[in-house]
């Protein structure tokens, strides 16, 4: 459909009014009957929406940064930049005022009893899910005690996470892991939540080489790991089960 069905097509000004939600019965009637003008309006709406999606708060400091600004944790030079931004950003001023009110409001103290037991978070859309890959048996360490179970490998984007288990001389199980990534620095100091059976079992800290470990791992239960980098990146490895090594009992 490349032309208007009516003698006079709707003007851009009229379509602008429709875009802003100003309803006019005659124009609505025109649109309902005319695919050409409807398509023009749809094109304008798409443009409008694309601008909003791409520009929405694009250069605003994060709420976390606003909180750190409020508490005085930011470096002075960064604080100056935020002060300048706040002068021209109503939305950030509102958020800063909101956090200030929330922090000052001590009227609702927690109840003496009945704070909830944490549940394992399932933040749909917030985390990158690393895919567990089967490891060929040949890659399992051989000719020495342990690991008792085959190592595992998980991947997402350009991040690979290696996991393995060892038996310690104390009879406990040691979970060992390493993150490999071209940008390993962003994972240094990352925090790992280890969840099993819906409960938080341990917190692990990734060292400067991307390695982490936890003694006391319970190999009998599937585990979920959530790796939180200081950059805000969140990677989850779900349903980690270490298969029994076929050779472990022979050694």
């Amino acid at each position: 459909m490349d032309e208007c069905r009516y003698p006079l097509a709707l003007t851009d000004d009229q379509l602008e009014l429709l875009l802003e939600g100003e309803v006019d019965a005659a124009m609505q009637e025109h649109l309902s009957q005319c695919p050409f003008c409807s398509a023009r309006l749809a094109q304008m709406q798409n443009f409008e929406q694309a601008l909003k999606v791409n520009l929405h708060r694009w250069n605003c400091p994060t709420p976390q940064e606003l909180s750190e600004y409020h508490i005085g944790l930011l470096l002075p030079e960064r604080a100056v930049i935020l002060t300048k931004h706040l002068e021209s950003c109503r939305r950030c001023r509102d958020e800063l005022a909101e956090v200030e009110r929330f922090l000052e409001d001590d009227s609702r103290l927690p109840p003496p009893r009945g704070l909830k037991k944490p549940q394992q978070p399932r933040m749909r859309g917030y985390e990158l899910i690393a895919r567990l890959l089967p490891m060929p048996p040949s890659l399992a360490l051989r000719g020495r005690r342990g690991p008792t179970r085959n190592p595992l490998q998980a991947e997402v984007d350009d991040i690979t996470i290696f996991l393995s288990l060892d038996e310690t001389t104390r009879g406990t199980t040691l979970l060992k892991g390493q993150i490999a990534s071209p940008d390993i620095d962003q994972w240094s100091g990352a925090l790992i939540e280890l969840w099993q059976q819906g409960s938080l079992q341990a917190m692990l800290i990734v060292n400067e080489n991307g390695m982490f470990r936890h003694e006391g791992f319970q190999p009998g239960y599937p585990a979920d790991l959530r790796i939180n980098a200081a950059t805000g990146k969140l990677v989850a490895i779900k349903d980690v089960r270490f298969p029994e090594s076929p050779s472990s009992e022979d050694e």
Partner: protein, 217 residues
Amino acid sequence: MSLAGMTVNELCDKCKESTQQFLNRLPHDDQYCFELLRRALAEQQQDALYNVYEIYLPLAIYWAETHPRFLQTRYPADEFATIGMSNFCLALGGEKFQHFDGLPSIMKFLKACVSSEIALHLRKISRIDPILSEDIADFQNQDDSISERIWQRISELLPDSVDRILVDCVFRQDLKPAEITSLYGQYWSSAREVSVALQRLRRTLRRDPMLTELLRL
């Protein structure tokens, strides 16, 4: 026994006791919790960190649930509390811990971290086009460098700074005409004036092929 001589387990027991006294509105001694937090965050001791989560994650959940905009999120409080806890621990790692001289100021920061996570989530869902998607993941990896290029192009197309203020208000801040007139009454004294000015700017922007390409339309 001095604090330095106490094991993490001993500190944890004392901190739990002190936290319960706080919840019962009874006098309490903060020093054990502060030392436990110091070992977890400043010294990065894993077992101390786990105990910090065990003691304070329930409190963080409570704060998430009582946040004035929590109900708008339509997500469980545990989500915001857990990520808020991570941000809290990551932000206070190492030397930054020295900025805090006592438990109340640290708890205030934890509360701020939980609040920030809720605010961030609400920012993200307000960016999503509800017609096209309800999935927050669609905009998780929003590339701000594209946004910057789009803004640069708009700045080239609109040399008048007042025009740019209007585009910023409408498209970056999503302000309504009434909000714009109350903030910038010197430029637009009524919603009608905002509307007329905006129509002119939209036409200029729509005609530009480079901007259309940047918007992937």
